[in-house]
């Protein structure tokens, strides 16, 4: 990888992060736009998890990790503890891989 490639990849990543905050300066987004942006959080998180857990190299795929994440979700629904849920996710996943 050349330094030019590194600079280009870094420039793209940084630009995507700072573009909106800089262009908006200190103007607030109109409330309807803000509500719309907020409404993207749930479907986007769901998609993020689904792509990570239910696909591998683009193909649908289920493994121990999906089970670990599902159990963690159940635990979190009952006991609202992020830390506990993460520990459960890792433990269940690791245990299933041993089987």
């Amino acid at each position: 990888m050349t330094w030019a490639t590194i600079a280009a990849v870094a420039a793209v990543c940084i630009t995507l992060r700072v573009a909106a905050p800089l262009l908006l300066a200190d103007r607030r987004l109109p409330p309807p736009v803000e509500r719309r942006l907020n409404a993207t959080v749930v479907p986007l998180l769901a998609a993020l998890v689904a792509v990570q857990v239910l696909t591998a190299r683009g193909e649908p795929h289920v493994d121990a990790r999906a089970a670990g994440v599902a159990v963690a979700a159940g635990v979190f629904l009952v006991r609202r503890s992020l830390l506990l849920a993460l520990v459960v996710a890792a433990a269940v996943t690791a245990a299933l891989r041993l089987v």
Partner: protein, 220 residues
């Protein structure tokens, strides 16, 4: 906002992100190991992690590089994978500092996790964004340096199930936001759409389509 509560929330953000700091570190190690294995210099890999600060974009860059892809192909993959950060940036913009330099630094702390955490209270919270982002930034960058330097010593995060921690974390953040039946439907639709699209489009595009669809469809 006074400085004391601001600082307190930075610590809050860091604490919230702490549970997966180990996973971020090991992901960083994995990136460093893979990068050096492909002939990328250790310093180069570390600089890339400290500037691009994006696991998906950096691994994709390595994949394209490994396939002897052009710079243009690399950048196209990076844009597809990270275009959602344009929207993340817009959604946290109102909470960021007025000072343009601080603004840039704060926006640079955007990750999927820090963004979602910063919106936990309903309105974006910049201190949480910075606290959570810093934890990821430090662990990802030092992990990369360690992986690039010691290569191959410790690159298997799956044995201890740590690779499940991050998706579990996102699931929890999502569950916290499920208040109405519409939210549950949106979550199901988002997940289904992403998995259905994954075989047919390049990585990153399913998330973009879900994001665009949600922006258009959901006005509530």
């Amino acid at each position: 906002m006074n400085a004391v509560t601001d600082d307190a929330r930075i610590i809050d953000g860091a604490r919230l992100a702490a549970p997966f700091a180990a996973a971020d570190f090991l992901d960083g190690v994995a990136f460093g190991v893979v990068a050096v294995g492909l002939g990328v210099g250790a310093v180069q890999a570390t600089v890339l992690s400290a500037t691009a600060f994006s696991g998906s974009a950096q691994f994709a860059s390595l994949t394209v590089l490994g396939d002897h892809g052009s710079l243009l192909a690399i950048l196209a993959a990076v844009i597809a994978l990270n275009a959602r950060y344009l929207v993340f940036g817009a959604s946290v913009a109102p909470s960021l500092s007025r000072n343009p330099f601080r603004r840039i630094a704060e926006a640079q702390m955007l990750t999927d996790a820090s963004w979602a955490l910063s919106l936990r209270g309903g309105r974006p919270n910049r201190a949480v964004l910075v606290g959570a982002g810093l934890v990821s930034f430090l662990t990802w960058t030092t992990g990369t340096a360690a992986g690039a330097a010691f290569g191959g010593v410790l690159d298997d995060t799956s044995a201890v199930g740590l690779d499940a921690a991050l998706p579990a974390f996102f699931v929890c953040l999502m569950i916290e936001r499920l208040r109405t039946r519409g939210d549950v439907a949106a979550a199901g639709a988002g997940a289904l759409l992403a998995v259905a699209l994954a075989p047919f489009v390049p990585a990153g595009v399913p998330l973009l389509v879900v994001l665009a669809t949600a922006l258009v469809l959901r006005s509530a």
